[in-house]
Structure formats: structure tokens, C-alpha cells
């Protein structure tokens, strides 16, 4: 069989997938680019060409800068916490103890809970008057008065991050656990004989096995955290005083609540660009890590 026929056949087999992706993602993306240069509204006018006005207005607006900072905080802290907690949990689950199998099985629970359910659940937990968190903390004496967790700018974002972490760190843990199980036992025992302490052992013996899978998890989680919408929409809608408004919420507001499809599109593309830059930087990192460990 000739190579060119193989390639043609492969393209034919790819065709359905590519056709769907081009029509439902490719075309809308191109159209978003077109819209971003117009002052089109969501319903009604087609809009006319306004050049780079939308971009200039969006980038210079205080809203955008502030929202970018909020989004970055959310992404960096929640992803970092998920990674650390996930690896710690995986190290624990890799030890031998009674009930380990059950605990491993339970790890899937938060991850399987739909995001909207998770957000609703935590909103109830954080409720300032009747929430479980206030009740638990005051009953054990850690708090003397009920607090408004989602109503104070300095706790609202943290509260969201906790809710997001709780759902996502088990996934990191499961990925890390699978990688740990691939570490050959004789290597760890050998390093013990060499007298390596637990920290050195983790750093030099175990970590190299974790880096690859963890980096992939890191990339995926960071991209997702940067695009975050659902959990914030359900829990705070960006409040209080816009302290939890992320980029996706801002785009929604611009394009759908205010119906300015044009400037909404330009803002969405700016976000896309940011995520792409992040992803490309990460991809380089992954390749480097894969290279050094190969």
C-alpha cells in the first residue's frame, strides 16, 4: 500500500471529525474575529466596522485590568493548592493502611459531582445566616460570630478557591497516585539503603516519575481555571463589589447582559490570546521536562 493512499485514507477517516469541528468551532471563531471589529449588538443591528476601537476600549478600561488580576489570582492559587494537596494525598494513598481501597474509591466523589452542584453546595455551606461553616466554626469555638464569607471581598475569592480546590484536587491526587504506582519498588528501597532521607528521596527518586503527568494536569487545570465561569456564576455572580468577577464573567456581561456583541467579542479574543500564550509556554515546559526525564 502506498504512503500517499494511506494518507488520503487517513484524511477521509478524519473528515467527519474535522467537518464538525470546523463548522461548530472554526467558523464561529472566525466570525468572532469579524465581530470584534464592529459595533454589532446581540439583537437588532448588524453593526458597522469600527477598526480596533473595541480592543482599545476594552484593554484600557479599568474593568479589564482589575478582572485580569482577579482571574490570575484565582487561577494561580487554586491550581497551586490543587497540585500540592493532590500530591500529598497521593503520597498518603500510596502508603499501606486499613481502608486504603475505600479511601481511594471515595476520592472520585468530589470530581464526579457536577460543577454547578458543587457550587450550589458550597454556597449553602457558606451561607452567612444558616450555613454549615459558620455553625461548625462557632460550635467548636473557632469563631465568635457568624461571618459573611461570600459577602466580604477579602474572603469571597478565598471561599471560591476552597470550593474549586475541593472539587479538583482529588483528580490531581488520582493522576499522581497512578504515577507513584509506576515507581519501581527496588529503586525506593535502594535509595533507603543509600541513606537518603524522606525529603531527598521524594525530590530525587519519586518526583521525576511525577513530573510528566503532573505537568499535563497543571496545564489542563490552569487553562480551566483561567476560563472559569460556572462556579463563580452560581456562587457570587462576580460580587461583592466585583471582587470575584473573572474574565469570562466580564465577557458574558459585555456581550449578553449589555448586548454589545462587538466589544464582547474583542474581549473574548483577548482572553483567548492570554490562554494560548499560557498554554504555549506550558507546552514548552512539558517538552523540556519530558526531554530531561527521557
Amino acid at each position: 500500500m502506498s504512503g500517499s493512499w494511506m494518507t488520503t485514507r487517513a484524511w477521509l477517516l478524519m473528515l467527519p471529525l474535522l467537518a464538525v469541528m470546523i463548522s461548530v468551532i472554526g467558523w464561529p471563531l472566525v466570525d468572532t474575529v469579524r465581530l470584534s471589529f464592529t459595533d454589532a449588538r446581540l439583537v437588532g443591528t448588524e453593526g458597522s466596522f469600527v477598526g480596533l476601537d473595541n480592543y482599545a476600549r476594552m484593554l484600557s478600561g479599568a474593568n479589564f485590568q482589575r478582572t485580569l488580576v482577579t482571574t490570575t489570582w484565582f487561577a494561580v492559587i487554586s491550581v497551586a493548592a490543587e497540585m500540592v494537596l493532590g500530591v500529598l494525598a497521593a503520597l498518603l494513598l500510596n502508603q499501606q493502611f486499613y481502608g486504603r481501597t475505600v479511601l481511594r474509591a471515595l476520592m472520585i466523589l468530589p470530581w464526579a459531582l457536577p460543577t454547578v452542584v458543587n457550587a450550589t453546595l458550597w454556597r449553602l455551606i457558606y451561607n452567612p445566616e444558616y450555613g454549615a461553616l459558620n455553625a461548625a466554626l462557632t460550635q467548636i469555638g473557632l469563631l465568635d460570630a457568624y461571618r459573611s464569607w461570600l459577602g466580604e471581598p477579602n474572603t469571597a475569592l478565598a471561599a471560591l478557591i476552597v470550593a474549586d480546590c475541593w472539587k479538583n484536587f482529588p483528580l490531581v491526587a488520582l493522576i499522581a497516585l497512578a504515577a507513584l504506582q509506576a515507581v519501581p519498588r527496588d529503586i525506593t528501597s535502594a535509595s533507603m539503603v543509600d541513606g537518603a532521607g524522606p525529603i531527598a528521596r521524594f525530590r530525587f527518586v519519586i518526583l521525576p516519575y511525577l513530573v510528566g503527568p503532573l505537568l499535563v494536569a497543571l496545564v489542563l487545570r490552569t487553562i480551566e481555571a483561567f476560563k472559569v465561569f460556572d462556579i463563580i456564576w452560581v456562587m457570587t455572580r462576580g460580587g461583592p463589589a466585583n471582587s470575584t468577577r473573572t474574565l469570562s464573567i466580564l465577557v458574558y456581561q459585555e456581550a449578553f447582559s449589555f448586548q454589545r456583541a462587538g466589544s464582547g467579542a474583542s474581549l473574548a479574543l483577548i482572553v483567548t490570546l492570554l490562554v494560548t500564550v499560557l498554554a504555549v509556554a506550558y507546552a514548552a515546559l512539558v517538552r523540556k521536562a519530558a526531554g530531561s526525564n527521557a
Binding site: L42, V43, E129, G151, R237, G239, P240, N242
Partner: protein, 411 residues
């Protein structure tokens, strides 16, 4: 064919034949309502059932969303011709008319309607001299108070002015009856604007002057200052800044608020012993005024029912709207929302058991103050919500926050 197979499967899967279409149904219309304040979901469903009984050839599919989703859903559904009838807030006709979302129904409104409905109610549906629907919910924020707590504190009568409210709250706080006696809905949402507007009307403020923001000074500033003082002095429940109306009701019903600003619906709900710990102790008066400026204050929080331009069945839609807004229907369900019809307020069938509410309504409804009428209302409101929260949280001084809102309002 495929559809009917689906239906059969569905019926089998979910036990009953509830999904089978009505035997008579010829036309189906879709109506969008809110699940928040005013008429309860059960009330709307019961009214619709009565309508279907009277009009077996029209089937009405009901959809309920939170108030927060009502505007966006209405606009987004235009693309699909989704709804025939939509509930809209008094602040939206300007935008809906400019963007061709609602049908101008001025010609459909009969003389009987014009004569019978309270004049104030018509402002709910009017923009540029045209009517874009029928008023349905005639509502404003009242001051509710817990009679038992006031009695315990030795307070003879509820406050007539906002300063008196603060004084009375202080007495209750100082006597240790409640740590934070007043509850409001100051979440970053339209609810906060409604409370703010009530105060703006009390202080004789103005939102816009010649189309430009005017709330940064005068009454607009006084109103925000009052909110901030009440919050920082500890008289207001600090959780108010994440409350919507339902949270206020819950706190009030649990006996944890001496005073609360809320819509009509709270009166009968808080008086229902099944859900409420304060049944029988609920007092209601118009929101207070400011000495020398106003006797009472009120926000126009009314809502109307309109036909969307995407509707293919405007006749049936109008029939449904006339039924829902008819005096007969409204009188029958006058517990959570009061009728738009003038003569209903003297009808014993309506007033019985809620004389206090009716008395407050007569004063409050007459004083209703509008939120600004502009196609850019959503942006203005979003900017104001942010300003109010920044001021409450101490992130900005009230005057600076309002100045910022004026700049961001898009006006």
C-alpha cells in the same frame, strides 16, 4: 413520528402519561415568569390552569427563572422565538422598545382597562408614549417590622422617618434584644438598587438630569450615606450585603430582624405559621420619609406582561395576558401581590385580613419613585451596584463611589 416514539418511551420511563399533549391543544404558547417575590410559582401555575380551563384550545407552557436571569433569558430567547409572553421589570421597556424585543400593544388596550387600572401602574409598561404590555405586579418596598420586638423595646409606633428608624434600631440594639436589627437586600444585584432608590426618593434625589447622571450629589448621595452609616454603625445586619429579598424574608421570618425592607409578598408569607416564627407579629408601614423632604418613600418595583416580537401567536398571547391581569384573577390571588385595579383596594374580598398592608399600599403606591428610564439601564444599574457595595465595604467614600458609577454608567 419520531417525536411520538420519544413520547411513548418517555411515558414508559417516567411512569405516568403526564407528558402527553392536551387533547384539545391547538396552539401552544410559552410564557416566562420569575421565581422570586410577588406571585408564587404555585399561584402562577394555578392562574394558568384556570386560563386553560376557560380556553381549552390554548396550551400555556410556563417557565420560571430567578429575577437575576429574567432579562438575559428574555433577550437571548429572541433568537429562537422562545417565548410568546414575558414578564418584564419596569426598568426594561426602554431597552426592549429600542431593541425591538416587545410588541407595542397600545391599540389593544381597551377603555375599560385605561379607566380601571391605577394611573401609576401604567408607567410600568410605557416608553415614549407607547404601551408595551399590561402592568401585572404593582409593587413597592415597604418597611416591615416585628411587633413583638418593638413592644419589648418599649417602642410605641413604627418609624415615620429614616432617622427615627435608626434611633429605634439603636434602642433595640442597646437593650440587647437583637445585635443587628435591620435587614436589607444589598447584594450586588438589582435588589440593592431598589433599596437605594427608596432612599433616593425619601431624600428627594434625582438619578438623571437632562439624560446625564445626577445621583452623585444631593439626594442620591444622602441616600448612599444613610446606607453606609446604618451599615457601619452596626444597626444593619452586615450580611445584608449578600442578601437578596429571599434572604431578608428568611431572616425576618426567623425573628432575627426587627425591621426589614421588602416587597408586598413578605407580608402574607411571614404571617403564615407553617413557615414563619413571627406569624401574627408582622407589622407593615410605608417606607419612611425624611423630615422636611418627604412623608413616605417608595420605589416603583412594578412589573408587566408583554408579547415578544418573536411570537407567532400574539392573539393567544394577549388573551393570556388579559386573563392574568384581569381584576377577577388579581382579586383572587391578592395575597402575595396587590391588584393593579383601583376599585380592588376597596373590595372587602381583597382587603380582608390584610387591612394593614392595604393601608400601607395606599400611601406607598402613590409615592412610587421610578428608577431611571434609559435604554442603557443595565449598564447604569451594574455601575451603581458596584458603587453601593464599594461604599458599604469601605473601599471608597460614597461620593467617590457614586462619581465612579456616573463615569461607568455609559450615559
Amino acid at each position: 413520528m419520531l417525536k411520538s416514539i420519544n413520547r411513548t418511551l418517555l411515558g414508559a420511563a417516567f411512569v405516568s402519561g403526564a407528558f402527553m399533549p392536551h387533547a384539545f391543544a391547538e396552539t401552544a404558547i410559552n410564557a416566562l415568569f420569575m421565581a422570586q417575590a410577588a406571585y408564587s410559582e404555585a399561584d402562577v401555575r394555578a392562574m394558568t390552569e384556570a386560563f386553560s380551563k376557560a380556553n381549552p384550545d390554548i396550551k400555556v407552557n410556563l417557565e420560571f427563572v430567578p429575577y437575576e436571569g429574567l432579562h438575559d433569558k428574555t433577550v437571548l430567547a429572541q433568537g429562537s422565538g422562545g417565548y410568546d409572553v414575558v414578564l418584564f421589570d419596569v426598568i426594561w421597556p426602554a431597552e426592549y422598545a429600542s431593541n425591538n424585543v416587545l410588541v407595542d400593544v397600545s391599540s389593544r388596550i381597551t377603555d375599560d382597562m385605561k379607566k380601571g387600572v391605577l394611573p401609576g401602574a401604567w408607567t410600568t409598561v410605557a416608553y415614549d408614549g407607547k404601551s408595551y404590555g399590561m402592568p401585572w405586579i404593582l409593587d413597592t418596598k415597604y418597611l416591615f417590622y416585628n411587633k413583638e420586638i418593638l413592644e419589648k423595646a418599649g417602642i410605641k409606633s413604627p418609624p415615620k422617618t429614616w432617622d427615627e428608624l435608626a434611633e429605634q434600631a439603636k434602642i433595640i440594639k442597646d437593650k440587647g434584644i437583637l445585635a443587628t436589627p435591620i435587614s436589607w437586600s444589598w447584594s450586588q444585584a438589582e435588589a440593592a438598587i431598589c433599596d437605594y432608590t427608596t432612599l433616593v426618593s425619601a431624600y428627594g434625589g434625582e438619578f438623571l438630569k437632562d439624560g446625564k447622571p445626577a445621583f452623585q450629589s444631593g439626594g442620591g448621595l444622602d441616600a448612599l450615606n444613610y446606607m453606609v452609616t446604618s451599615y457601619s454603625s452596626g444597626l444593619t445586619n452586615p450580611n445584608s450585603k449578600e442578601f437578596l429579598e429571599e434572604d431578608v424574608r428568611k431572616v425576618f421570618q426567623n425573628g432575627e430582624a426587627a425591621f426589614a425592607l421588602n416587597w408586598t409578598y413578605m407580608y402574607n408569607m411571614a404571617n403564615d405559621p407553617k413557615d414563619s416564627k413571627v406569624a401574627g407579629k408582622v407589622g407593615v408601614v410605608p417606607a419612611p420619609g425624611v423630615a422636611g423632604k418627604s412623608e413616605v418613600s417608595a420605589v416603583n418595583g412594578s412589573m408587566g406582561l408583554g408579547i415578544t416580537t418573536a411570537s407567532k401567536h400574539p392573539e393567544e398571547a394577549w388573551k393570556f395576558i388579559t386573563f392574568m391581569t384581569s381584576q377577577e384573577t388579581q382579586n383572587q390571588y391578592a395575597k402575595l401581590s396587590l391588584p393593579i385595579w383601583a376599585s380592588s383596594y376597596d373590595d372587602p374580598a381583597v382587603t380582608k385580613g390584610q387591612e394593614e398592608l392595604i393601608a400601607a399600599a395606599k400611601l406607598g403606591l402613590a409615592a412610587m419613585y421610578p428608577r431611571p428610564t434609559t435604554p442603557k439601564y443595565q449598564e447604569l444599574s451594574t455601575a451603581l451596584q458596584q458603587a453601593i457595595q464599594e461604599a458599604l465595604l469601605g473601599q471608597a467614600k460614597p461620593e467617590d463611589a457614586l462619581k465612579g458609577a456616573a463615569e461607568n454608567s455609559g450615559l
